[in-house]
């Protein structure tokens, strides 16, 4: 076994040594086939050599024995020679086999495998060479058969074939060979053409796929870099920008505390402005940071929305009581989601419904959910001041507000957060509103997403 592997490696090194294949098209398989043929040819011909020699001496044709030996030597040469080109190996093998078949024809006639060899050679050539050589081989067969006709007709040599055939029977037999070889070559030609087309097509498809996936990969890298940049930005916002701001606020507080008696009304007013503006900036920066962190470092978990809403209502109990609000809710679904984010979504929608109430009417808020084929649809309805149509697109943009700061507190981040959270769950958020009558906020949670949650859960469990 070890010897065989070493021999195989040697032969493959000899034949494939310098070959370059862009794709595994026909040329590759031709050479591969040839390599395989010569790989087995040498040991098998060695085995066949002894009976061949014995038989040729029994049949009193020593020339045949000599040729057998030469043929085997020739096989050994093309199999083992280290630097011979692949093409030369093929040509030598084919010539050698032609000579063998002619000699066999001459000496053994129809008892020998001569004609069979010619047919096999044609097939062999059409397998290992480009197809035009195979047509030449058919022509070669024809020429050989004609030459033998002449030999037979004019009894030019004293050999077994002359005794076996008359001109007529030879033509009958050999014409079969020529026609058969022509048919086989044409069939192989057709088959190989089809295969070649398929291989080339597949190769170009593969190439295209490769290019596309490379482009995708590049895009992904770009996105990752951008994401990292954003995270860096969020960090700067959280730390580097907050620090000087905190200093300003402390100094203002210190001034207010230590110099309250010494400062006049105007100075105190300016201090108030300073503190007001810095506090607002702090709130904006914190809001920006929280917004950028939505969906980061959180894991999907099974969330019972009834329980979640209950929790939110408990936490806003004071606000609800102050506003004398009535909140009703239906039975809500349970699914995989980002719990903290979903809670923030409910908090923001509810606190908006309380905040933008009509002064003369106690807030009535309804929370409902319906299950659809591919998503859960939630609604939060209020009887508040409503939103004018022209502002509806604006409300989901970060830091966009519709009312003067003095009228309603806040920095304009709640609904932007809601939008990001709905999108994080593969959903959308929108609003239907009639000014002075109330608004209904809708948002969806995609079921793809919640079932995707299940698969994530399953994967991380391993």
């Amino acid at each position: 076994m070890k010897w065989w592997l070493a021999y195989k490696k040697l032969v493959e090194n000899n034949t494939f040594r310098s070959a370059q294949y862009e794709m595994r098209a026909l040329s590759f398989w031709r050479d591969k086939l040839f390599t395989n043929i010569i790989l087995y040819l040498l040991p098998i011909s060695f085995l066949a050599l002894l009976p061949g020699i014995v038989m040729s001496f029994i049949g009193q044709i020593p020339l045949l024995a000599l040729f057998d030996v030469m043929a085997v030597l020739c096989f050994a040469f093309i199999t083992l020679h280290p630097t011979l080109s692949l093409y030369a190996r093929k040509v030598i093998l084919v010539i050698c086999l032609y000579l063998l078949s002619i000699i066999l024809l001459i000496y053994l006639g129809s008892f020998g495998p001569g004609l069979l060899y010619l047919l096999a050679l044609t097939i062999f050539i059409s397998l290992i060479f480009p197809i035009k050589f195979a047509f030449w081989s058919v022509a070669g067969n024809l020429v050989i058969c004609i030459l033998f006709s002449l030999l037979i007709q004019f009894s030019l040599i004293d050999a077994s074939i002359i005794q076996h055939y008359t001109l007529g029977s030879w033509i009958a037999v050999s014409s079969n060979l020529v026609i058969l070889s022509a048919v086989i070559v044409a069939s192989i030609h057709l088959l190989f053409n089809g295969l070649q087309t398929t291989i080339v097509k597949e190769f170009s498809l593969q190439n295209q796929l490769k290019e596309e996936s490379q482009a995708l990969e590049r895009m992904l890298q770009k996105m990752e870099a951008k994401n990292a940049e954003l995270e860096q930005f969020a960090y700067i916002a959280s730390h580097d920008l907050q620090e000087p701001l905190a200093t300003i606020l402390s100094v203002v507080a210190l001034l207010d505390k230590q110099y309250k008696e010494k400062l006049d009304v105007n100075a105190l007013r300016y201090l108030g402005f300073l503190s007001q503006a810095s506090s607002r900036m702090q709130a904006l920066i914190t809001g920006l940071l929280e917004y950028s962190r939505i969906g980061k470092e959180t894991e999907l978990e099974l969330v019972d929305c009834n329980q979640l809403l209950h929790q939110v209502l408990t936490e806003c109990a004071e606000q609800i009581k102050e506003n004398n609000a009535a909140i009703s809710s239906d039975f809500l679904p349970t699914f995989y989601a980002y719990r903290a984010e979903l809670k923030l979504l409910f908090e923001n929608l509810l606190s908006n419904a309380l905040k933008f109430r009509k002064s003369e009417l106690s807030p009535q808020i309804t929370v409902k959910a319906t299950e659809e084929q591919d998503k859960y649809l939630f609604l939060v309805r209020d009887n508040g001041i409503g939103i004018e149509k022209k502002f509806i697109q604006k409300i989901f943009i970060i830091f966009q507000q519709l009312h003067a700061k003095s009228k309603y507190a806040g920095i304009g981040i709640g609904l932007a957060q809601c939008k990001k959270i709905a999108e994080l769950h593969g959903g959308k958020i929108w609003v239907d509103s009639i000014p002075k009558q109330g608004s209904t906020f809708y948002f969806t949670i995609s079921k793809d997403f919640t079932s995707y949650g299940n698969t994530i859960k399953a994967n991380t469990a391993h």
């Binding site: 402005f273 007001q276 507000q401 519709l402 009312h403 003067a404 700061k405 003095s406």
Partner: protein, 136 residues
């Protein structure tokens, strides 16, 4: 100061900014009256002429762009629609915090916008604007 305008209108959602700008205008002594609006709606209400067919608009308006509800751009749209009702045309100076090139471009394409300036307002800025638009 040679010329004094009858009325200047400040439109900005930030009350501190309005206070500071009003201070600058008072120090420059360029107007008899300085109106302040914290939203575009408030400003449009100030510009109405109740009971009369034609009235005087403020000669000079300083306008912030980024405001809750109607923006500065919305204000200009609304102002355009009601322009005929004033006996004079206001000089509108857009005053904004961020110098966004897109905003600048948009402002330059609007006939109604005379100037595009960066906050905060200064005495020099006011003097320049007064000389440019109100000397003759």
């Amino acid at each position: 100061m040679a010329i004094q305008l009858k009325q200047i209108l400040l439109i900005d959602d930030d009350s501190i900014t309005n206070f500071l700008h009003k201070n600058v205008l008072e120090e420059a002594q360029v107007a008899q009256h300085i109106g302040v609006a914290e939203t575009a709606i408030e400003a449009l209400e100030l510009l109405e002429c109740p009971g009369v067919e034609k009235c005087n608009a403020p000669e000079l308006i300083f306008l912030d762009l980024n405001m809750p509800g109607l923006t500065g751009w919305d204000f200009i749209e609304e102002y355009k629609k009601t322009k005929e009702r004033y006996s004079n045309e206001s000089i509108i100076v857009v005053l904004t915090t961020s110098v966004n090139p897109d905003d600048n471009k948009k402002a330059s394409q609007l006939r109604e916008v005379a100037e595009f300036r960066k906050k905060p307002m200064t005495i020099n800025m006011v003097t320049e604007i007064m000389q440019k638009y109100f000397t003759s």
